[in-house]
């Protein structure tokens, strides 16, 4: 099922933000017409409220008012774009009032909650308002969702975006900057801080934020703990001989937690063709076979395997290739989105709604224009059989001054609306 209109609502910030962008790329790649609500553009204004030095009740009122404006902006976009699906990433700024309005108007909504449900418990207040609620964990969460009134829960693990997470050729300068025998890219959660103290004797680089205040690890922290862009993450993954992937935990007493969900880094490293040592997770075996990933279940095993794979780099290459093949086959955002769409189709009666659409190349179409229009359709990344309505929207999505042909298409569409004519 393609050619859907999907509005992706990004969060203000956070881990689900880059995933929302990968989802957007994947949906477009699969032929859907995608519009994005760019919540991050609103965040600095929201954040500035915290500098007011006002009473807390007044601050809360202002924050809620601001969030209401943002939610109303999403609704306005829905009204104009008329999507088949509003796909919200975790922490998307849609308040209850807006979600109720969408439900009342028959607009189908889905939430991809790419967080640990045990830590981010706010989902309980919002899950019932979505038509579909996708999660990255299994088991109890499904019972809990059912209990709060959400029957359409879907297990939808994370993934990689192959046109972004891929093997790259690095310059010698980049290799020197981003490369090391061992590295870790991620935030300084308590279990990682303790665990990595045991690795300081290696050529070990730590990338990412929230590592402050640890004198043992301090010499290993790169770029003074600055946030690393997604582009640089790919370079680090490619430049490192052994990428450590230790899932986060707020517990410091158990370093390898043997938790359930598989983090995005697992899929991204694999898609890059990079070698990783990842801690065992209960949902990992259904994503990768044993010979597709190198895993560890304790610090002793991690230290042992670092030593082993450092001495056997050819084995790393084989495992990395197999993990990459597996990701490309089963764990891309395109595949995840297809799963989500199929699930929505199964669970939501009459979805997607039939919409009136007309063909671009009707009998009245001037033949001498066909080549130019086909070229435009190609440039816009639209399917060859795109409807006239979707072509119009894709033209409208373009930035800056439009061409004579773009404007003629928009003008024709408006003229047809004005005079109630469809060709």
């Amino acid at each position: 099922m393609n050619n859907l209109r999907i509005l992706v609502v990004l969060p203000f910030y956070g881990g689900s933000l880059p995933i929302g962008r990968y989802v957007t790329s994947a949906l477009k790649e699969d032929g859907h017409l995608v519009e994005v609500f760019e919540a991050p553009e609103f965040y600095s204004a929201y954040d500035s409220l915290k500098s007011l030095k006002v009473t807390t009740d007044r601050l809360e009122y202002l924050q809620n008012s601001f969030l209401n404006v943002v939610s109303q902006s999403v609704l306005a976009k829905v009204e104009t774009f008329e999507p088949d699906l509003v796909l919200c990433m975790a922490q998307a700024p849609l308040n209850h009032q807006a979600l109720k309005r969408l439900k009342r108007d028959g607009v189908t909504t889905a939430m991809w909650f790419v967080e640990d449900y045990r830590l981010f418990t706010y989902w309980k207040a919002f899950a019932p308002f979505y038509d579909v609620f996708a999660v990255i964990q299994k088991g109890q969460i499904f019972d809990e969702l059912n209990a709060v009134g959400q029957p359409n829960a879907l297990y939808l693990p994370l993934a990689a975006q192959p046109d972004f997470h891929k093997p790259v050729d690095l310059t010698p300068v980049e290799q020197r900057k981003f490369g090391s025998d061992v590295s870790f890219m991620g935030a300084g959660y308590p279990n990682r801080r303790i665990a990595f103290r045991e690795l300081v004797n290696h050529d070990f680089k730590i990338w990412g934020t929230e590592w402050e205040g640890d004198h043992v690890l301090e010499p290993l922290i790169q770029l003074k703990g600055a946030r690393i862009s997604s582009e640089d993450c790919v370079k680090i993954f490619n430049a490192t001989k052994i990428n450590l992937n230790l899932h986060s935990s707020i517990q410091a007493d158990e370093l390898v937690t043997y938790g359930d969900f598989v983090n995005p880094r697992t899929f991204e490293l694999a898609a890059c063709g990079a070698f990783q040592l990842v801690d065992k997770r209960s949902l990992l075996p259904e994503a990768f076979a044993e010979n597709e990933l190198a895993t560890f279940s304790s610090m002793d095993e991690l230290i042992e395997k670092i030593g082993y794979f450092t001495s056997n780099p050819e084995e790393c290459v084989g495992i990395a290739q197999r993990s990459r093949d597996r990701v490309l086959k089963d764990h891309t955002y395109k595949i995840r989105m297809r799963t989500l769409i199929e699930f929505t189709n199964e669970r939501i009666d009459g979805w997607p709604k039939q919409r009136a659409s007309s063909t671009v190349f009707s009998d009245d179409f001037p033949p001498e224009l066909e080549q130019d229009i086909r070229q435009l359709i190609g440039e816009l990344g639209l399917p060859e059989d795109v409807s006239f309505e979707d072509l119009v929207w894709a033209v409208r999505q373009q930035q800056g001054k439009l061409s004579d042909l773009d404007t003629a298409i928009l003008f024709l569409d408006e003229w047809q609306k004005l005079y109630k004519i469809r060709m």
């Binding site: 179409f365 001037p366 409208r396 001054k401 004579d404 003008f411 408006e414 004005l418 005079y419 004519i421």
Partner: protein, 416 residues
Amino acid sequence: MKNYLIIQLARFGDLIQTKRLLATLCARDDATVHLCVDKSLQQLARLVYPDVVIHPVTAHGTGLSNSEAMRSMLVDNRKAFDKLKSIDFETIYNLNFSGLNFRLAALFDPETVEGYGWNNGQEMIGLWPSMAMRWSSFRRIAINLVDFWAGYCPDMISPESVNPEAKAKGSGIGVVLAGRESRRSLPADILAKATATLGSSSKTDRIVLLGGKSEAAAGQAVIKELPKNLQEKTDNLAGKTDWTQLVEIVDSLDMLLTPDTGTMHLAAHLGTPVKAFFLSSAWCFETGPYGKGHTVYQAVTDCLPCLETKPCDYDTKCLGGFADPLFQRFLVTGKADHAPQGLIGFNSAFDRLGQIYSPFAGTDNDTDQRTKFREFIRQFHADDGGEISDLERLFAERIYRERDWMTKSQPVGTFG
């Protein structure tokens, strides 16, 4: 050389009412003025604005088959758009609140577009038209559309220099049968009486009935109602004139009797005296004849001006003044004592902002408020201070909004 573009995609009357803006731009040093109009009006546009470069596009929906429309939109319009895009315009004045105008603006840098713009897929409305939408709630004190459009340019030419002062041209009386909205026009019998009265009193040799093809039958009905001697002098030219002929005829007349129509504005443009009948949604302070020497008979029931789109719940009571037998005598004498109830007789005149109408019969209860409002608006453009009225605060609160104050300060700014 500086190129300016005006996009005027509305109808006949609107094209003529763009004149003060066009003339203002033409008066600028080293200016070349371009005008984008619907294809059906290109001949007229060339006749009335010979110094302006005309860019016709297909914007109106009449008389096109599907395939013709598709070809016009995608082939012909595309060529026209390509031509427009190739010109380096200093400013584009996009005048109509229409989806077509918003989209046409997509060709240009949004910073250069005033009026109705397009910014990365978002429709944008400029400050000046936004202000006009705000004052549309008090239409009785509105400003003339000619002056409103000229208001895009603070250097607008004086109102007196827009159209020639109206003078009789010697070739009889023209009668416009109907405007686009029939409720705004006089029924055939009333129109015939007015025509007969003025025809007889002026001892005219010739009466021409003007209008489109659809008004030919109305023309016959008017002729039937005329006295025999006038019937012989009357030609029903409804549907028989092209633009050139219409301009020639209107330019030859002693006077034109008309409701609020494009032909009325054409007469004003040519300096032919107009006697205009305004009722229903037609309000002379919005769209009355521009220039000196015109007369307006304005209905003033308490429900006016109404909305064309809304059905009348009052049995078109605004026709009452025109149907009153006293109206015929009033047409001839122009004496205040002879004015029927529900009508005001106005002479066209000017103030510093532009076109006004001074009552010569009947009472205009809105004069004081209107004068103050017009001064308020004039001060928006002028930097010479001016009168401060007791309504200053009321107007300021109604016309200026928070976002004007907080986000943009220049009249050229746009909001979306």
